[in-house]
């Protein structure tokens, strides 16, 4: 693998952004009703305008923002924790965010406050897992994953308690939050979340070089002139903020944070300065594809129903991941 130059950085990012935009465009074409994309806007029927403007576009945008957040934060988590199986979902960070947002909604907070509530909970979850798995400057990989499993169970118990206390209608919403759902959102909310995700992505990309050094161990990183703790904190903060921002809207979408980092590194090489933004674009692309499947697969069948996007990402992600593990022969 050749080393990274600014030229390669720019070329790869531009290429992946173009790919994401093309897929978003194609996804906007596909659906229950195909839209007359190659005619001018004023000639569109009001129904087509509504389908595009009020349903399909916000959905594609939310999928893109969510995919960006999960892909890049997953890459950062894997690099920081030196564990190829780490992702926000498995470590309980997403569940933390889910609990935070359910509490936020239950307390009747205005929406702008919810991502920060979710962020606080996801950061707390992250730090708990990290502190538990850290032994004398080293992260015990099995302890890390097991702690994530236990924490997930614990947080889910809390969520189920809230679910039991909530009204029947609220309980339905909690269930959909747990499965993951990208259905129609207002542009205002998507914009707010996109802003947070963009800020997080910039911080994580800037931390890419430090993450490279940290993959050789905290001691080496220190000897090369960085303070491991300061950079770890920044990465945890930014990644938890991104997860906290998307979970209140999209719910728990699994597997994206797990397999997108692998695809990103396969495309770009291990250098985090590039693999983190690349994972954002690849995550956006893949989640748009998964959500397009979710909203089209069964909609014309006798069921006339949509699928939860979280189910599609797991259906696509789990076999893909098993294949990847088998091919690589090691994790």
């Amino acid at each position: 693998m050749k080393s990274l130059t600014i030229k390669k950085w720019l070329a790869t990012n531009v290429l992946l952004v173009v790919l994401a935009v093309l897929v978003a465009f194609a996804a906007s074409l596909v659906g229950e009703k195909s839209l007359p994309f190659f005619t001018r806007w004023s000639a569109w029927s009001p129904e087509d305008k509504d389908i595009f403007w009020a349903s399909r576009l916000p959905r594609v945008l939310l999928a893109a923002v969510t995919g960006m957040a999960l892909g890049s934060s997953g890459t950062a988590f894997q690099g920081l924790l030196q564990n190829a199986l780490a992702d926000p979902y498995i470590l309980g960070v997403s569940s933390g965010a889910a609990l935070g947002s359910i509490l936020g909604y239950a307390l009747g907070l205005p929406f702008a406050g919810i991502p920060f509530f979710a962020f606080a909970a996801s950061l707390a979850a992250m730090l708990l897992v990290y502190r538990t798995a850290m032994r004398g400057g080293q992260i015990a990989p099995h302890t890390l994953l097991l702690t994530g499993v236990i924490l997930n169970a614990f947080l889910f118990a809390f969520i189920l308690i809230l679910n039991g206390l909530a009204s029947f209608e609220q309980a339905q919403k909690i269930i959909f939050l747990l499965i993951g759902n990208l259905e129609t959102e207002t542009y205002g909310r998507i914009g707010l979340v996109a802003g947070i995700v963009a800020a997080g992505l910039i911080v994580l990309t800037a931390e890419g070089h430090a993450l490279n050094l940290l993959t050789s161990g905290p001691e080496t990183a220190r000897s090369l002139g960085i303070d491991p703790n300061r950079h770890r904190k920044r990465v945890f903060f930014a990644a938890s903020l991104m997860v906290g921002a998307v979970v209140p809207l999209a719910g728990l979408v699994g597997f994206i944070g797990l397999f997108v980092p692998h695809i990103a590194r396969w495309v770009t090489g291990p250098d985090h300065r590039l693999s983190i933004p690349a994972a954002a674009w690849i995550g956006a692309t893949l989640l748009i594809v998964c959500d397009t499947l979710a909203r089209t697969l069964l909609v014309s069948s006798a069921f006339q129903t949509e699928l939860p996007v979280g189910a599609v990402t797991a259906l696509v992600g789990a076999p893909f991941f098993l294949l990847l593990m088998k091919k690589r022969g090691r994790s």
């Binding site: 693998m1 050749k2 080393s3 990274l4 130059t5 600014i6 950085w9 690099g79 030196q82 564990n83 190829a84 990309t205 800037a206 890419g208 070089h209 430090a210 490279n212 050094l213 993959t215 050789s216 161990g217 001691e219 080496t220 220190r222 000897s223 090369l224 002139g225 960085i226 303070d227 590194r265 090489g269 291990p270 250098d271 300065r273």
Partner: protein
């Protein structure tokens, strides 16, 4: 007399409750090769990491040019002191060149992109250690000796005047042991690098180091030239086994063996 490169003053270090290093005081002279010797758990590696600024002394100080290492910003310290660990985590398979480029970390800006100068210095460091041909190979594909040379190249790319190596010869066969120590010796001779390393092998230490520091239970037993340090009495006491020392007729260097 060479000026002092690093000055260890009343250094004490403890993990949890136990003293690992107990009131050490000595100077590293500029341009010398100093070997730290001692039995397992004598505190060699802990001492080296304190000298590298990777661990902070519980009390006492490590001074470089009169400034306490713990008061120096990390980047500045990394430009002055390079550290080669005994082994390194390799979660991601960075290429040899990417690894050596990381040695430029104390010089790059926020976004971490290396300049043409950084690349030139990286190439030079890799050529000096005969690793330039390995540049596109991943670290996991390299042999132990090759990997050790790549990590040494990374330390060279740091352009530090003081090079600290933790057990640079462990896990290597005798040919690669000689190769890596020859490299250290020639860097010391050509560039005036000060080299401090921990070693297990007393004979290799006598062969390559200008001075030896013998440690036992966190205390300095002796510091001096090989011929005066490696006496039967001293090393038998340090390693708690009876040892025999033979002097090479030509070089006058001591070789030591355990007695059955």
């Amino acid at each position: 007399m060479n000026p002092s490169c690093l000055s260890v003053q009343n250094l004490r270090f403890r993990y949890v409750r136990d003293d690992v290093l107990n009131d050490l005081a000595f100077d590293v002279r500029s341009g010398e090769i100093l070997a730290l010797l001692g039995p397992n758990a004598s505190g060699k590696t802990t001492l080296l990491k304190n000298m590298a600024g990777l661990l902070h002394p519980s009390s006492g100080r490590v001074l470089m040019n009169g400034i306490d290492l713990t008061d120096r910003p990390h980047r500045e310290r990394a430009r002055a002191i390079a550290f080669v660990p005994q082994s390194e985590d390799t979660f991601l398979d960075f290429s040899a060149e990417q690894t050596v480029l990381m040695g430029r970390a104390p010089y790059v800006g926020t976004w971490g992109f290396e300049s043409a100068e950084d690349r030139a210095k990286t190439r030079e460091a890799m050529e000096r250690t005969d690793t330039w041909i390995l540049r596109e190979r991943g670290l996991s594909e390299l042999s132990g000796g090759e990997r050790q040379r790549v990590i040494l190249a990374r330390a060279l790319a740091q352009e530090a005047k003081l090079l600290l190596l933790d057990e640079p010869t462990s896990h290597l066969d005798v040919r690669y042991q000689k190769e890596i120590l020859d490299l250290c010796a020639s860097l010391n001779a050509e560039r005036g690098l000060t080299v401090v390393m921990t070693l297990h092998d007393l004979n290799l230490a006598a062969l390559y180091a200008h001075r030896l520091l013998l440690l036992k239970e966190g205390k300095v037993v002796r510091l001096g030239f090989p011929a005066e340090t490696l006496t039967e009495e001293t090393i038998s006491e340090v390693f708690s086994v009876p040892m025999k020392v033979v002097k090479d007729e030509k070089s006058g260097l001591p070789s030591s063996f355990p007695i059955r």
